[in-house]
Assembly symmetry: C2
Homo-oligomer: 163 residues x 2
Amino acid sequence: MTTTTTKTKQFISADQILEHWQGHRNLTRRVIEAFPEKELFEFSVGGMRPFAKLAVELISIAGPALKGIVNEQIEAFSEEAFKPKTKEELLAKWDSETDVINEYFHKISEERFQETFNLFGQYEFPVYQNILYFIDNEVHHRGQGYTYLRALGIEPPFFWERF
Amino acid sequence: MTTTTTKTKQFISADQILEHWQGHRNLTRRVIEAFPEKELFEFSVGGMRPFAKLAVELISIAGPALKGIVNEQIEAFSEEAFKPKTKEELLAKWDSETDVINEYFHKISEERFQETFNLFGQYEFPVYQNILYFIDNEVHHRGQGYTYLRALGIEPPFFWERF
Protein backbone atom coordinates (compact mmCIF):
# COMPACT_ATOMS: atom_id res chain seq x y z
CA MET A 1 0.00 0.00 0.00
CA THR A 2 1.06 3.60 -0.47
CA THR A 3 1.09 5.63 2.68
CA THR A 4 1.82 9.21 3.62
CA THR A 5 1.47 8.74 7.35
CA THR A 6 4.36 8.99 9.76
CA LYS A 7 5.90 5.56 10.07
CA THR A 8 8.61 4.17 12.21
CA LYS A 9 11.57 2.36 10.70
CA GLN A 10 10.08 -0.95 9.62
CA PHE A 11 11.80 -4.18 10.58
CA ILE A 12 9.48 -6.65 8.89
CA SER A 13 6.13 -6.78 7.19
CA ALA A 14 3.11 -8.80 8.26
CA ASP A 15 3.63 -11.25 5.37
CA GLN A 16 7.23 -11.81 6.42
CA ILE A 17 6.46 -12.66 10.03
CA LEU A 18 3.64 -14.99 8.95
CA GLU A 19 5.97 -16.83 6.56
CA HIS A 20 8.57 -16.98 9.34
CA TRP A 21 6.03 -18.42 11.77
CA GLN A 22 4.76 -21.03 9.32
CA GLY A 23 8.38 -22.01 8.67
CA HIS A 24 8.80 -22.60 12.39
CA ARG A 25 5.55 -24.59 12.42
CA ASN A 26 6.90 -26.82 9.63
CA LEU A 27 9.95 -27.54 11.75
CA THR A 28 7.87 -28.25 14.86
CA ARG A 29 5.80 -30.65 12.74
CA ARG A 30 9.01 -32.50 11.84
CA VAL A 31 9.93 -32.71 15.53
CA ILE A 32 6.52 -34.26 16.31
CA GLU A 33 7.12 -36.76 13.48
CA ALA A 34 10.60 -37.63 14.77
CA PHE A 35 9.23 -39.01 18.06
CA PRO A 36 8.29 -42.69 18.24
CA GLU A 37 4.53 -42.97 18.93
CA LYS A 38 4.87 -44.07 22.56
CA GLU A 39 7.61 -41.60 23.52
CA LEU A 40 5.71 -38.70 21.96
CA PHE A 41 3.00 -39.18 24.58
CA GLU A 42 5.04 -40.49 27.50
CA PHE A 43 8.71 -39.51 27.45
CA SER A 44 10.11 -36.43 29.12
CA VAL A 45 13.13 -35.15 31.06
CA GLY A 46 13.17 -33.73 34.58
CA GLY A 47 9.46 -34.13 35.23
CA MET A 48 8.44 -31.90 32.33
CA ARG A 49 5.48 -32.57 30.03
CA PRO A 50 5.85 -35.04 27.13
CA PHE A 51 6.19 -33.41 23.70
CA ALA A 52 2.60 -34.28 22.69
CA LYS A 53 1.39 -32.14 25.63
CA LEU A 54 3.65 -29.27 24.57
CA ALA A 55 2.33 -29.55 21.00
CA VAL A 56 -1.27 -29.46 22.26
CA GLU A 57 -0.40 -26.27 24.16
CA LEU A 58 0.92 -24.73 20.93
CA ILE A 59 -2.22 -25.80 19.03
CA SER A 60 -4.40 -24.38 21.81
CA ILE A 61 -2.69 -21.00 21.52
CA ALA A 62 -2.07 -20.10 17.86
CA GLY A 63 -5.41 -20.44 16.06
CA PRO A 64 -7.68 -19.73 19.05
CA ALA A 65 -5.60 -16.68 20.01
CA LEU A 66 -5.73 -15.20 16.51
CA LYS A 67 -9.50 -15.78 16.39
CA GLY A 68 -9.80 -14.00 19.75
CA ILE A 69 -7.76 -11.06 18.48
CA VAL A 70 -9.70 -10.75 15.22
CA ASN A 71 -13.14 -11.16 16.81
CA GLU A 72 -12.18 -9.17 19.90
CA GLN A 73 -13.48 -12.02 22.00
CA ILE A 74 -11.90 -12.70 25.33
CA GLU A 75 -12.10 -16.37 26.23
CA ALA A 76 -10.00 -18.11 28.85
CA PHE A 77 -7.13 -20.26 27.63
CA SER A 78 -7.96 -23.95 27.56
CA GLU A 79 -6.23 -27.11 26.39
CA GLU A 80 -9.35 -29.21 26.97
CA ALA A 81 -10.81 -28.97 23.47
CA PHE A 82 -8.27 -31.26 21.81
CA LYS A 83 -7.01 -34.52 23.29
CA PRO A 84 -5.19 -36.49 20.59
CA LYS A 85 -4.51 -40.17 21.21
CA THR A 86 -2.19 -40.77 18.25
CA LYS A 87 0.59 -38.98 16.41
CA GLU A 88 -1.52 -39.06 13.26
CA GLU A 89 -4.36 -37.24 15.01
CA LEU A 90 -1.95 -34.65 16.37
CA LEU A 91 -0.39 -34.03 12.95
CA ALA A 92 -3.80 -33.75 11.25
CA LYS A 93 -4.83 -31.04 13.73
CA TRP A 94 -1.46 -29.33 13.31
CA ASP A 95 -2.10 -29.14 9.57
CA SER A 96 -5.68 -27.90 9.79
CA GLU A 97 -4.52 -25.13 12.15
CA THR A 98 -2.06 -23.97 9.48
CA ASP A 99 -5.00 -22.73 7.42
CA VAL A 100 -6.73 -21.17 10.43
CA ILE A 101 -3.56 -19.21 11.22
CA ASN A 102 -3.19 -17.98 7.63
CA GLU A 103 -6.84 -16.97 7.44
CA TYR A 104 -7.02 -15.05 10.70
CA PHE A 105 -3.55 -13.53 10.59
CA HIS A 106 -4.43 -11.78 7.33
CA LYS A 107 -7.41 -10.12 9.00
CA ILE A 108 -5.22 -8.16 11.42
CA SER A 109 -4.52 -4.61 10.26
CA GLU A 110 -1.24 -2.74 10.63
CA GLU A 111 -2.78 -0.48 13.28
CA ARG A 112 -4.18 -3.42 15.20
CA PHE A 113 -0.70 -4.93 15.68
CA GLN A 114 0.08 -1.91 17.84
CA GLU A 115 -3.13 -1.97 19.89
CA THR A 116 -3.37 -3.61 23.26
CA PHE A 117 -5.53 -6.72 23.61
CA ASN A 118 -6.27 -8.74 26.73
CA LEU A 119 -5.49 -12.15 25.27
CA PHE A 120 -7.32 -15.02 26.96
CA GLY A 121 -8.42 -12.39 29.50
CA GLN A 122 -4.95 -12.70 30.97
CA TYR A 123 -2.18 -11.25 28.77
CA GLU A 124 -2.75 -7.54 28.18
CA PHE A 125 -0.11 -6.54 25.65
CA PRO A 126 0.12 -5.04 22.16
CA VAL A 127 -1.05 -7.56 19.58
CA TYR A 128 2.41 -7.72 17.98
CA GLN A 129 3.89 -8.78 21.33
CA ASN A 130 1.26 -11.46 21.73
CA ILE A 131 2.07 -12.85 18.28
CA LEU A 132 5.83 -12.81 18.94
CA TYR A 133 5.06 -14.65 22.16
CA PHE A 134 3.26 -17.45 20.28
CA ILE A 135 6.31 -17.94 18.06
CA ASP A 136 8.85 -17.69 20.90
CA ASN A 137 6.86 -20.09 23.03
CA GLU A 138 6.87 -22.59 20.17
CA VAL A 139 10.64 -22.26 19.63
CA HIS A 140 11.17 -22.56 23.41
CA HIS A 141 9.15 -25.76 23.78
CA ARG A 142 10.56 -27.22 20.59
CA GLY A 143 14.05 -26.68 22.02
CA GLN A 144 12.91 -28.86 24.91
CA GLY A 145 11.64 -31.40 22.38
CA TYR A 146 15.09 -31.45 20.76
CA THR A 147 16.56 -32.30 24.16
CA TYR A 148 14.05 -35.15 24.61
CA LEU A 149 15.00 -36.53 21.18
CA ARG A 150 18.72 -36.35 22.00
CA ALA A 151 18.07 -38.08 25.34
CA LEU A 152 16.27 -40.81 23.34
CA GLY A 153 19.28 -41.12 21.02
CA ILE A 154 17.31 -39.70 18.08
CA GLU A 155 18.83 -37.11 15.72
CA PRO A 156 16.48 -34.09 15.60
CA PRO A 157 15.70 -32.32 12.29
CA PHE A 158 17.99 -29.48 11.23
CA PHE A 159 17.07 -26.26 13.05
CA TRP A 160 17.46 -24.18 9.90
CA GLU A 161 15.24 -26.33 7.67
CA ARG A 162 11.88 -24.64 7.60
CA PHE A 163 10.26 -25.31 4.22
CA MET B 1 10.15 9.41 9.68
CA THR B 2 7.65 10.52 7.09
CA THR B 3 7.62 8.49 3.95
CA THR B 4 5.74 8.55 0.69
CA THR B 5 7.23 5.37 -0.69
CA THR B 6 5.28 2.21 -1.25
CA LYS B 7 5.36 0.21 1.97
CA THR B 8 4.10 -3.17 2.91
CA LYS B 9 1.89 -3.69 5.94
CA GLN B 10 4.29 -3.25 8.86
CA PHE B 11 4.37 -5.86 11.59
CA ILE B 12 6.98 -4.28 13.85
CA SER B 13 9.50 -1.49 13.87
CA ALA B 14 13.25 -1.83 14.30
CA ASP B 15 13.06 -0.41 17.85
CA GLN B 16 10.43 -2.98 18.78
CA ILE B 17 12.42 -6.00 17.63
CA LEU B 18 15.54 -4.68 19.37
CA GLU B 19 13.65 -4.25 22.64
CA HIS B 20 12.18 -7.73 22.15
CA TRP B 21 15.63 -9.22 21.59
CA GLN B 22 17.18 -7.50 24.59
CA GLY B 23 14.26 -8.77 26.67
CA HIS B 24 15.12 -12.29 25.56
CA ARG B 25 18.78 -11.62 26.37
CA ASN B 26 17.81 -10.57 29.89
CA LEU B 27 16.01 -13.86 30.33
CA THR B 28 18.94 -15.87 28.94
CA ARG B 29 21.18 -14.02 31.41
CA ARG B 30 18.91 -15.22 34.24
CA VAL B 31 19.17 -18.79 32.95
CA ILE B 32 23.00 -18.55 33.00
CA GLU B 33 22.76 -17.24 36.58
CA ALA B 34 20.44 -20.07 37.62
CA PHE B 35 23.07 -22.75 36.92
CA PRO B 36 25.48 -23.74 39.68
CA GLU B 37 29.05 -22.85 38.62
CA LYS B 38 30.15 -26.43 37.95
CA GLU B 39 27.00 -27.56 36.13
CA LEU B 40 27.05 -24.48 33.91
CA PHE B 41 30.28 -25.73 32.38
CA GLU B 42 29.81 -29.48 32.67
CA PHE B 43 26.20 -30.65 32.84
CA SER B 44 24.14 -31.60 29.83
CA VAL B 45 21.49 -34.06 28.66
CA GLY B 46 21.77 -36.59 25.83
CA GLY B 47 25.35 -35.74 24.87
CA MET B 48 24.54 -32.10 24.07
CA ARG B 49 26.81 -29.14 24.91
CA PRO B 50 26.75 -27.69 28.45
CA PHE B 51 24.88 -24.37 28.76
CA ALA B 52 28.11 -22.32 29.01
CA LYS B 53 29.03 -23.58 25.51
CA LEU B 54 25.61 -22.67 24.18
CA ALA B 55 25.92 -19.19 25.74
CA VAL B 56 29.34 -18.73 24.12
CA GLU B 57 27.76 -19.63 20.77
CA LEU B 58 25.13 -16.93 21.32
CA ILE B 59 27.80 -14.39 22.27
CA SER B 60 29.83 -15.35 19.20
CA ILE B 61 26.87 -14.68 16.93
CA ALA B 62 25.00 -11.55 18.05
CA GLY B 63 27.58 -8.76 18.28
CA PRO B 64 30.03 -10.11 15.68
CA ALA B 65 27.19 -10.76 13.21
CA LEU B 66 25.78 -7.25 13.57
CA LYS B 67 29.27 -5.77 13.10
CA GLY B 68 29.67 -7.90 9.98
CA ILE B 69 26.34 -6.70 8.60
CA VAL B 70 27.04 -3.03 9.34
CA ASN B 71 30.62 -3.09 8.05
CA GLU B 72 29.75 -5.44 5.18
CA GLN B 73 32.62 -7.63 6.26
CA ILE B 74 32.40 -11.33 5.71
CA GLU B 75 34.34 -13.23 8.34
CA ALA B 76 33.94 -16.89 9.16
CA PHE B 77 32.02 -17.76 12.30
CA SER B 78 34.25 -18.60 15.24
CA GLU B 79 33.75 -19.39 18.90
CA GLU B 80 37.48 -19.29 19.57
CA ALA B 81 37.74 -15.64 20.61
CA PHE B 82 36.07 -16.06 23.99
CA LYS B 83 36.72 -18.93 26.38
CA PRO B 84 35.24 -18.07 29.78
CA LYS B 85 36.34 -20.09 32.80
CA THR B 86 33.80 -18.75 35.28
CA LYS B 87 30.15 -17.75 35.36
CA GLU B 88 31.19 -14.23 36.35
CA GLU B 89 33.36 -13.92 33.25
CA LEU B 90 30.56 -15.21 31.05
CA LEU B 91 28.04 -12.76 32.53
CA ALA B 92 30.43 -9.81 32.19
CA LYS B 93 30.86 -10.57 28.47
CA TRP B 94 27.10 -11.04 28.10
CA ASP B 95 26.59 -7.54 29.51
CA SER B 96 29.25 -5.82 27.43
CA GLU B 97 27.72 -7.39 24.29
CA THR B 98 24.39 -5.76 25.19
CA ASP B 99 25.88 -2.37 24.33
CA VAL B 100 27.54 -3.68 21.16
CA ILE B 101 24.17 -5.01 19.98
CA ASN B 102 22.39 -1.74 20.69
CA GLU B 103 25.10 0.30 18.96
CA TYR B 104 25.31 -1.76 15.77
CA PHE B 105 21.64 -2.60 15.47
CA HIS B 106 20.82 1.11 15.26
CA LYS B 107 23.15 1.49 12.30
CA ILE B 108 21.06 -0.81 10.10
CA SER B 109 18.67 1.07 7.81
CA GLU B 110 15.15 0.00 6.93
CA GLU B 111 16.23 -0.82 3.38
CA ARG B 112 19.18 -2.86 4.61
CA PHE B 113 16.91 -5.22 6.58
CA GLN B 114 15.54 -6.35 3.22
CA GLU B 115 18.89 -6.78 1.50
CA THR B 116 20.68 -10.10 1.25
CA PHE B 117 23.94 -10.53 3.14
CA ASN B 118 26.25 -13.53 3.20
CA LEU B 119 26.59 -13.75 6.98
CA PHE B 120 29.84 -15.38 8.13
CA GLY B 121 30.36 -16.20 4.45
CA GLN B 122 27.83 -18.98 4.93
CA TYR B 123 24.26 -17.78 5.46
CA GLU B 124 23.06 -15.80 2.47
CA PHE B 125 19.68 -14.42 3.49
CA PRO B 126 17.93 -11.08 3.88
CA VAL B 127 19.32 -9.25 6.92
CA TYR B 128 15.96 -9.39 8.71
CA GLN B 129 16.00 -13.19 8.44
CA ASN B 130 19.52 -13.33 9.81
CA ILE B 131 18.48 -11.21 12.80
CA LEU B 132 15.37 -13.32 13.46
CA TYR B 133 17.65 -16.34 13.31
CA PHE B 134 19.89 -14.93 16.09
CA ILE B 135 16.85 -14.49 18.33
CA ASP B 136 15.28 -17.86 17.47
CA ASN B 137 18.58 -19.63 17.98
CA GLU B 138 18.84 -18.05 21.42
CA VAL B 139 15.29 -19.07 22.40
CA HIS B 140 15.95 -22.57 21.04
CA HIS B 141 19.14 -23.12 23.03
CA ARG B 142 17.67 -21.49 26.12
CA GLY B 143 14.78 -23.97 25.93
CA GLN B 144 17.45 -26.68 26.12
CA GLY B 145 18.95 -24.86 29.11
CA TYR B 146 15.54 -24.94 30.81
CA THR B 147 15.50 -28.71 30.35
CA TYR B 148 19.00 -29.00 31.87
CA LEU B 149 17.85 -26.95 34.88
CA ARG B 150 14.75 -29.14 35.34
CA ALA B 151 16.91 -32.26 35.07
CA LEU B 152 19.08 -30.75 37.84
CA GLY B 153 15.99 -30.14 39.97
CA ILE B 154 16.35 -26.35 39.63
CA GLU B 155 13.33 -24.13 38.93
CA PRO B 156 14.07 -22.03 35.81
CA PRO B 157 13.15 -18.32 35.66
CA PHE B 158 9.67 -17.42 34.35
CA PHE B 159 9.62 -17.51 30.54
CA TRP B 160 7.57 -14.33 30.34
CA GLU B 161 9.80 -12.21 32.61
CA ARG B 162 12.03 -10.21 30.30
CA PHE B 163 12.83 -6.91 32.02
